[in-house]
């Protein structure tokens, strides 16, 4: 059984659903429960969505790279994509959001606070702002990121796998 898998995602929104389905098949091969697979698939989708929204794909060869690694007690999802200077504002926001989520002992509280804030925004405002906090709450994932020298941003999520998350135990 393969412990890890990598996807090269073209900058096309329709690719997300394809990767979500293929990564679910990979996770299924590790005998994870349906709920766990759904939760990890959500993490993968949300991270790719962010990658496509804020990445730099002006060079036709640029892509989003998704790496999934299944260990005994954790699943790590890493999503990497190129960024340009216009993304720096987003990186500051990303950093602040991750620190803000970590400030809560229970991510549920952060999720509720975010819902309250979003509910007050106008209907035509299409920015969600829920994705990262949803990863922490629903996906029970620990978020982190770094920017490499070659302007590649790497966002990672480590999600704990409990005994009940596995079908074979």
């Amino acid at each position: 059984m393969k412990k890890s898998i990598e996807f090269n995602v073209k900058p096309d929104w329709d690719e997300i659903e394809k990767v979500r389905n293929e990564s679910a098949d990979f996770l299924q091969s590790h005998e994870l429960s349906d709920n766990t697979i759904h939760s990890l698939s959500m993490i993968i989708s949300e991270l790719i969505e962010n990658g496509l929204k804020y990445g730099d794909f002006t060079n036709g060869n640029n892509k989003v790279v998704v790496h999934i690694n299944v260990a005994t007690h954790t699943v790590t999802v890493e999503v990497e994509n190129p960024v340009d200077k216009s993304a720096y504002k987003h990186l500051t926001k990303l950093d602040k959001t991750i620190q803000w989520i970590r400030g809560y002992q229970d991510p549920f509280e952060a999720y509720i606070e975010r819902i309250k804030a979003v509910s007050k925004k106008p209907l035509h405002d299409t920015e969600s702002g829920i994705g990262l906090v949803r990863i922490a709450y629903e996906g029970n994932g620990l978020l982190d990121f770094f920017v490499a020298e070659n302007n590649l941003i790497n966002v990672s999520v480590v999600s704990n796998i409990e005994r009940e998350d596995r079908l074979s135990l």
């Binding site: 659903e17 969505e49 549920f108 819902i115 509910s119 007050k120 949803r134």
Partner: protein, 123 residues
């Protein structure tokens, strides 16, 4: 019962049916668009207005939803906030046995009202 209205966008179908006392809004499939609110919000705003004009309860059923991205949750939250401020009655049904639905919809219980005008129920 009036003829059901079907709204479809990619993998998502929203069915709206007007009954004697309720307006049923049934969600089915997956919502994975980049900006799903462009499709969802106009439908929900129209249903909210209908419910208000005809004094009917909106029954929003998410049990047949397989997946929704976080951008889909946003317009639902905003509609609940608007309904809470007004007089509209809304009941949301979700599938309790699905962990993702339980986690997402139980969090929306912050919009519940004491007079049961807004209800969130896991089945």
């Amino acid at each position: 019962m009036k003829k059901p209205e079907l709204f479809t966008n990619n993998f998502l179908t929203i069915q709206v049916v007007e009954h004697k006392d309720t307006i049923d809004v049934r969600w089915e499939g997956k919502s994975v668009d980049r900006e799903p609110s462009k499709f969802i919000s106009p439908i929900l705003v129209k249903v909210l207005e209908m419910a208000s004009d005809l004094n009917k309860r909106i029954i929003m059923d998410f049990q047949d939803m397989a997946y929704m991205n976080s951008s889909t949750i946003t317009p639902i939250i905003k509609i609940l906030e608007r309904a809470k401020k007004g007089m509209t009655k809304i009941t949301i049904f979700y599938q309790k046995s699905l962990k993702w639905q339980e986690l997402n919809f139980s969090a929306l219980k912050i919009f519940k009202t004491k007079d049961n005008r807004l209800e969130i129920k896991g089945l």
